[in-house]
């Protein structure tokens, strides 16, 4: 208790003003109660807002931020190039991976792990991904009794399809040469020059 109150006792509170229309309020209140009851009653005949989950599933838009997957490019190859941008964008640090390289020159993750027990489904990883590899999907049914089952490795993450962004292949755009796509074969590229030529 502050010193002020100790010295001066309880502060003087003015009595509440007596409402001039007290009776009217009582009558009005009674009718609004009835109105509410009526409206609730009408809901018995309205269309149901809830559904019988899990027998019935709701529609979720494709951009819903649920379970994270790794997609493949139109040629069926892994899209992920192990650039580590998703991992560094992740605010909870729940993505870890290690880069490796195939004999034909593609970068890919040797392993790729997401700890979904830490994931907050913010979608930053998808936003950071330069190859449309990592995508959030409308699947949210990921609850587990054991947290350890929420650690997803690459085999659990990699899907067969292209996800939300069909048609994109990073290696067709980027200048890195891979088997079957030499230098000069990417988008907007001229064939390699001959550095020994002095012609303009």
């Amino acid at each position: 208790m502050s010193r002020h109150l100790k010295e001066h006792g309880t502060p003087a509170v003015p009595p509440p003003p007596v409402s001039p229309g007290g009776l009217r309020l009582i009558v009005e209140g009674f009718f609004t109660q009835l109105l509410s009851l009526w409206r609730v009653f009408l809901h018995l005949f309205a269309r149901r807002a809830t559904i019988e989950y899990p027998e019935q599933k709701p529609y979720l838009p494709p951009r819903y931020r649920g379970r994270i997957v790794l997609t493949r490019d139109p040629d069926g190859q892994e899209r992920c190039v192990a650039c580590n941008l998703c991992a560094v964008a992740c605010p909870v640090g729940c993505i870890a991976l290690q880069k490796a390289e195939t004999p034909d020159g593609r970068w890919y993750p040797e392993w790729f792990r997401i700890n979904f027990s830490r994931c907050i489904y913010c979608g930053m990883c998808e936003e950071a991904c330069p190859t449309y590899a990592i995508q959030l999907t409308p699947d949210y049914e990921m609850a587990e009794y054991d947290r350890r089952n929420m650690v997803y490795e690459k085999e659990h993450l990699l899907i067969a399809g292209q996800g939300k962004y069909p048609g994109y292949s990073f290696y067709r755009v980027a200048g890195l040469a891979i088997a079957g796509k030499p230098k000069g074969a990417a988008q907007h590229e001229e064939p390699p020059v001959d550095p020994r030529s002095l012609l303009p």
């Binding site: 700890n115 330069p130 907007h188 020059v193």
Partner: protein, 908 residues
């Protein structure tokens, strides 16, 4: 260490105005350097503090005003504009901003859109500069020019499409490092930086291209194999263990694997560059055959069984209690580890892990350095020397970073010409053009040809005995009270005259030698040379290279060499031998050593590597490799430098000194339980070592109560990297030994120079950010260069007696050294191993003819009862009569210096 280092003399400061504020600056610098030093973020590409300015990239545009009344100004390149008095420039002027943005936009028209798959990404100067200028979208809609890449060998990857034609690579490789197999081809926007055809980059400094290149054209191939972004690397400051120079390095780790070595700037030592042995020699840490668990052989002849650490410690403590113990230290182990072993077994039972001959040489190096009158040359000093005499040491193979500095030293007369013509030293190409082929005197006197011969004024080839004679003659010419050398021919006497005149005429003469020849007489005559130069009124500089990273440290600790230890084993005095981080088979001929090891009851080896000695051990304790431990090394200039643990390895691996501390504890002896106790003990054991405490702040050091984090602030995957093992994130390992933390948390700024774990600064993600940590560009780090010099040269003293001359016997061994192969640790990595030569033998053509041998023949060589096969190399630039043997090369056995070989051809 910046181009030419023009700071040796002071000049009156001038006033310049940048963006409306006035600054007092050094007129001998250019505007770019000054602006960066003052903290402005001015983008640049082609300028490099060690390579100077060429004005190739047009990126550092600023607006310069004529005078106070000029409001319009004109755009100039900051790197090409000197700081004249009353210079008025604007970095933020719209014209300059527009110019810089459009230059980047043009540079990016051909850039290949591959940052996600580029090893430079995230630590890329081009990315930083692009963001800094604000260029974000590619407006250019036409096609990109492309190039085909080359295979440049095991060290460097090549991706030419990322090139922005700043010319830094060829300027470094050809002009700074003296390589000639990398060049620029083509014209206009076709310019191509590479080799004439695919092939291994020959320069021993090729790895620096990775850091010199501001984009991802040249990247580290060993790092790329198991790549991790810079922001994900856990780093700690470290010291290179691969030679006695002690370059500062920054190893980076991720997922328990050492990923790469990056240069850690040191103003007096390595500066901006490392040699390839230092950069790529780290792979032994990740080797499959590493010792990772303690193992014990319970019965003689049985196999070793893994045991837990406590059993191992108790076993060793039990053996120690039985007495009759001997400890053998190592010049590749830290001071603390050597000291801990000495404290455990007692000083009278501690032996330095080197043979008596090497021990004598190391002691002589120490004595020569301490005696004076020569000043001990840092690498920055070597670059300033205006006359250099290399005597007996192939520095390019035994201390390569010094050879790179000698390359800069020969430019001293070119700088003198530039100064006389008022050409600023940072105008690198103008200074080179002016000087043409003029070089300051460099004399390379070695048994075999070296990589420095191309820039040498004169070379001399001879056996170590002949080098001693030549040096003795020079001593005589400098000080006539000294006797002449016997039996020199006219040419050699003329050469001695030339060298003596050059040393006498120099302001800063430098003598470079070392223990490579294995000749004590050579070191004595080097001491005599310094004495003679001192008596003639000059202050010579001296660089003496011992053979290993902590040779001088073990010499300071003292103790008898290996031979005395072996003698004690031979007479059956010893039951238990403790070998610390040492492979005795590299130091003692195998037949003798094997016989001696049989006489022991218990051989205890504490090592990180599965060496032949470790194979023979009865008790094997896994020690941490350099990136897994802390400790102090003393380099060739007597500088004590601390290196820090980068990560906590898996298995039972722990610091070798910690094993020894724990064994001591089990015996009731107190050696402390952290590094600082050993540092204090070691410092207290000898006044010469007292200052090692100051090599870096102790474990109690804190910045505002916080430790220094080893992990960058963007370190990713903390909650996933261990999740497959344990869903609960483990507590980060605690570090009782240093003020660094295995964590992202802590004080990111204000780390003392010896304990900076990463070079990073807002908007400067690449290694170019180092200028934010320097007092001035190319100068010491803020707070002074790390390490403390333990040796203060004295005023000099008397001469050593003139060594007697004995002509070398026919086929007497002369040691040769290989940058890749002669050093024990680095050859255990794949990248370096792929560059190691097969065993060879070098003879002079006359010697070979006399023996009836032809070049390229396979010969069987025998030395002291050991035989091996080698390919014969015949070289007219090799000393006559003697036989050159590459020391330490895999496949070449160990035997004493000066052994006479017998050679015969093997016919298939």
């Amino acid at each position: 260490m910046s181009a030419g280092d023009a700071r040796s003399a002071t000049a009156p400061l001038v006033t310049i105005e940048i963006d409306g504020r006035r600054y007092r600056v050094d007129p001998r610098r250019n505007l770019l350097e000054v602006a960066l030093e003052l903290g402005f973020d001015l983008p640049y590409f082609c300028w490099h503090p060690a390579l100077g300015s060429v004005g190739a990239c047009r990126q550092c545009a600023v607006t310069q005003f004529k005078d106070e009344n000029d409001t319009q100004g004109r755009v100039v390149m900051a790197c090409m504009t000197p700081c004249a008095d009353k210079t008025r420039i604007a970095i933020a002027h719209p014209d300059a901003l527009e110019m810089r943005a459009s230059v980047i936009e043009m540079l990016m028209t051909n850039h290949p859109h591959d940052c996600p798959v580029c090893e430079e990404g995230g630590a890329c100067h081009l990315q930083d500069m692009t963001v800094m200028t604000g260029h974000a979208y590619r407006r250019y809609r036409f096609h990109k020019r492309t190039h085909v890449n080359q295979d440049l060998g095991p060290f460097v990857s090549h991706e030419m499409n990322r090139c922005i034609a700043c010319y830094r690579c060829v300027r470094f490789y050809r002009e700074y490092a003296g390589g000639d197999d990398l060049n620029v081809f083509g014209a206009h926007h076709y310019v191509y930086f590479g080799r004439a055809s695919d092939g291994v980059l020959e320069s021993p400094f090729s790895g620096n291209l990775v850091e010199v290149c501001p984009t991802g054209v040249f990247t580290d191939k060993t790092y790329g194999e198991s790549y991790t972004r810079k922001w994900d690397l856990q780093q700690a400051p470290s010291i290179c263990h691969h030679c006695a120079v002690g370059c500062n390095i920054m190893p980076g780790e991720r997922y328990g694997r050492l990923k790469r070595i990056e240069n850690r700037y040191h103003g007096a030592l390595n500066g901006y560059f490392l040699c390839d042995r230092g950069r790529y020699g780290y792979q032994h840490v990740n080797a499959q055959g590493r010792v990772r668990h303690a193992a014990l052989r319970r019965d003689r002849g049985a196999a070793r069984q893994p045991v837990d650490a406590d059993t191992a410690i108790a076993t060793l403590a039990g053996w120690l209690a039985e007495g009759r113990v001997l400890g053998i230290g190592s010049p590749r182990a830290s001071l603390e580890a050597n000291y801990a072993l000495r404290a455990l077994v007692g000083a009278d039972r501690f032996h330095r892990g080197i043979d008596a001959e090497t021990a004598r040489l190391d002691d002589l190096v120490l004595e020569t350095l301490a005696r004076g009158p020569a000043q001990i040359a840092t690498i920055a000093d070597i670059e300033q020397a205006d006359a250099v005499l290399v005597l007996g040491e192939d520095v390019l193979a035994t201390g390569a970073r010094i050879a790179l500095a000698i390359r800069q030293a020969v430019r001293q007369s070119a700088y003198a010409m530039a100064d006389a013509a008022h050409v600023p030293r940072w105008q690198d190409h103008s200074a080179r053009l002016l000087a043409q082929e003029v070089k300051s005197p460099l004399f390379v006197c070695t048994p075999a040809a070296t990589g420095l011969d191309g820039i040498a004024t004169r070379t001399y080839r001879g056996a170590p005995q002949d080098l001693v004679r030549l040096a003795q003659e020079i001593v005589h010419l400098l000080d006539y009270t000294q006797p002449r050398a016997p039996g020199l021919d006219g040419d050699t006497i003329h050469l001695a005259h030339t060298i003596a005149e050059a040393l006498k005429g120099a302001q800063r003469p430098l003598i470079v030698s070392g223990t490579g020849c294995g000749s004590a007489a050579l070191l004595q005559v080097v001491a005599n040379l310094c004495t003679a130069l001192g008596r003639s009124g000059r202050k010579p500089w001296l660089a003496l290279l011992p053979s290993e990273c902590n040779s001088l440290g073990t010499a300071l600790l003292g103790g008898p060499g290996l031979d005395a230890a072996l003698a004690r084993i031979e007479v059956g005095e010893i039951d238990t031998l403790i070998v610390l981080e040492n492979d005795l088979f590299r130091r003692v001929p195998a037949p003798r050593l094997q016989a001696l090891l049989m006489r022991l009851s218990h051989l205890v080896v504490i090592d990180a590597l599965a060496t032949p000695t470790a194979e023979a051990a009865d008790l094997l304790l896994p020690a941490g490799a350099f990136a897994e431990t802390d400790g102090t090394l003393v380099n060739y200039e007597g500088r004590a430098q601390r290196y820090f643990q980068v990560y906590v390895p898996e298995g039972d691996i722990r610091e070798s000194w910690r094993w020894l501390q724990q064994v001591a504890r089990a015996r009731g002896q107190d050696l402390g339980d952290a590094l600082d106790a050993l540092i204090a003990g070691c410092a207290g054991s000898d006044p010469r070592l007292a200052r090692i405490v100051d090599a870096a702040p102790s474990a109690r050091f804190r910045i505002h109560g916080s430790r220094i984090p080893r992990q960058p602030h963007r370190y990713s995957g903390r909650t996933a990297m261990h999740a497959q093992r344990d869903i609960h994130e483990p507590r980060p390992p605690q570090d009782p030994d240093t003020p660094l933390a295995f964590s992202m948390e802590g004080a990111r700024t204000g780390a003392p120079p010896a304990e900076i774990p990463i070079f990073w600064y807002p908007r400067w993600n690449s290694v170019q950010s180092v200028h934010k940590f320097q007092q001035e560009i190319g100068g010491p780090l803020r707070g002074g260069d790390p390490g403390v010099r333990l040796i203060e040269p004295g005023p000099g003293g008397h001469y050593h007696d003139r060594p007697g001359y004995r002509a070398p016997a026919e086929l007497e061994t002369v040691w040769l050294y290989e940058l890749f192969g002669s050093e024990e640790l680095s050859v255990r990595g794949d990248a370096i191993a792929s560059r190691v030569a097969a065993p060879y033998l070098v003879l002079h053509p006359a010697t070979a003819a006399r023996l009836g041998l032809t070049a390229g023949a396979t010969v069987q060589v025998e030395a002291a009862g050991q035989r091996w096969q080698a390919v014969l190399r015949v070289s007219p630039t090799f000393a006559a009569n003697v036989a050159g043997v590459p020391r330490g090369l895999p496949g070449v056995p160990t035997f004493a210096t000066g052994t006479v070989l017998s050679v015969r051809e093997v016919r298939p």
